[in-house]
């Protein structure tokens, strides 16, 4: 097993599909892993939408991470739970797919994505179209083998500066090799944008923790990923306090390679319980 359709695949089965319109599916979070962050739940919804989009253009193109207008983080999940996934494709052509989607576990909403747009890229640059067609047929049939994701491997991510309660900076050394590159993507390894987002959220949460009160992550908005991140890249992450009231904390997160902006988002926190 080379990791393709295993190491970074978060759809086990497609249970219903209206070509170019909507798609539903599920994913069993492997029971043996340490945790499954909400950014990967978002990845699962995005992957489901991607299957719907690829099928709509006969696997000539595939969407890649681009824009997410708003992501509501509604609850967390545990390994061993099954995610019920849905995506409504608002438009899809060979240039872009726009969609919204949701995930729930045990009937409880986990995440809700709105105004998402994935630029469509020539599929052949990233993967073998025929193997994707065949795997799509498996997903639409009895489903794929469970348990391929082994958890997020340790990443060289360290905080290295900032100003207490106002900003936080960190460096990420993207690994030169990792299991997920075999799946994301076989012909062109790219560091997944959702893993970058997970680290951005950790940095934003660290900054929010420096502000008096107890803050819970609620919403990510205006997510924009501008460039592919190849293996081995060194990135600088920064979280900057944008606004702080008694009811909310808003943090801008940005990622740069040297001075070039790679991606950014706005992260909102609300007062948490038990303060």
């Amino acid at each position: 097993m080379d990791g393709h359709f295993q190491a970074f695949t978060f759809v086990n089965r497609i249970t219903a599909i209206q070509p170019g319109t909507s798609v539903r599916g599920n994913y069993l979070i492997p029971p043996g892993i340490a945790d499954f962050p909400q950014s990967l739940v978002g990845e699962a919804v995005g992957q489901l939408a991607a299957w719907g989009a690829m099928a709509a253009v006969d696997f000539k193109c595939r969407p890649v991470a681009g824009l997410a207008g708003q992501i509501e983080l509604l609850s967390s999940v545990r390994p061993g739970q099954t995610l019920e996934l849905s995506a409504e494709l608002e438009s899809v052509d060979t240039e872009a797919v726009s969609y919204r989607g949701e995930a729930s576990a045990d009937g409880i909403p986990v995440i809700r994505l709105q105004n998402c747009v994935g630029p469509m890229m020539p599929l052949e640059e990233f993967d073998d179209p025929q193997s994707l067609r065949e795997h799509f047929a498996v997903l639409c049939g009895n489903g794929s083998t469970l348990g391929g994701f082994g958890g997020i491997p340790p990443l060289a991510f360290s905080r290295n500066g900032g100003e207490l309660g106002k900003s936080a900076r960190a460096t990420l050394q993207v690994p030169a090799s990792a299991p997920f590159f075999a799946d994301h993507f076989p012909r062109r390894p790219v560091f997944p944008g959702t893993l970058l987002m997970n680290l951005n959220l950790q940095l934003a949460a660290a900054l929010a923790a420096e502000i008096p009160g107890r803050w819970e992550l609620r919403t990510i908005s205006d997510v924009k990923l501008r460039s592919f991140i190849p293996p081995g890249e060194q990135l600088e992450l920064e979280a900057k306090l944008d606004a702080c009231t008694k009811n909310s904390v808003t943090v801008i997160v940005e990622t740069r390679k040297e001075k070039k902006l790679i991606g950014g988002a706005r992260v909102s926190f609300a007062p948490g319980g038990n303060s």
Partner: protein, 147 residues
């Protein structure tokens, strides 16, 4: 699709909303989004920003804007091969572009003009006019009134 009869008043009417939408997409101050600003040269837009702007304009104005719409409309009834060959815009194609993108100063049109560089010509007004044309198309098709 002609744009000769798009008036300055029509453009002025939607410009504030277009500017606000673009500022949100580009993460810049709305004051920076001038009508004659080049999206790439002045506002630093990249390809993902164009996609962002198009989808935000669609939502803001409740119109559908097909990707590649500006060039498609500029090309009009010229065939693709008559408009450009080997990535270079033909003389006939350049004439169509200059007429269609009448808001773009003439000195910004390079000779020869590469097809891939056409987006460098686009200004904020270019997008205002595109929205107006799509509003008209939507209204003509019996759709929603302009937002």
């Amino acid at each position: 699709m002609s744009n000769e009869n798009i008036t300055k008043e029509e453009v002025a009417a939607i410009f504030p909303k277009v500017a606000e939408t673009m500022a949100d997409a580009l993460g810049c101050d709305v004051e920076k989004v001038k009508l004659d600003a080049s999206l790439i040269g002045d506002l630093g837009a990249e390809s993902i920003d164009f996609l962002d702007i198009i989808f935000r304009l669609e939502r803001a104005f409740k119109v559908k804007i097909p990707r590649g719409k500006i060039v498609e409309d500029a090309r009009g009834d010229l065939s693709e091969s008559a408009f450009e060959q080997s990535g270079i815009v033909s003389d006939a194609g350049a004439a169509r572009l200059k007429s269609f993108l009448s808001e773009v100063p003439a000195d910004r049109f390079k000779t020869p003009l590469k097809s891939a560089e056409i987006p460098k010509l686009f200004t904020v007004e270019t997008f205002c006019k595109m929205v107006i044309r799509q509003q008209r198309a939507t209204a003509a098709a019996g759709g929603a009134k302009p937002a």
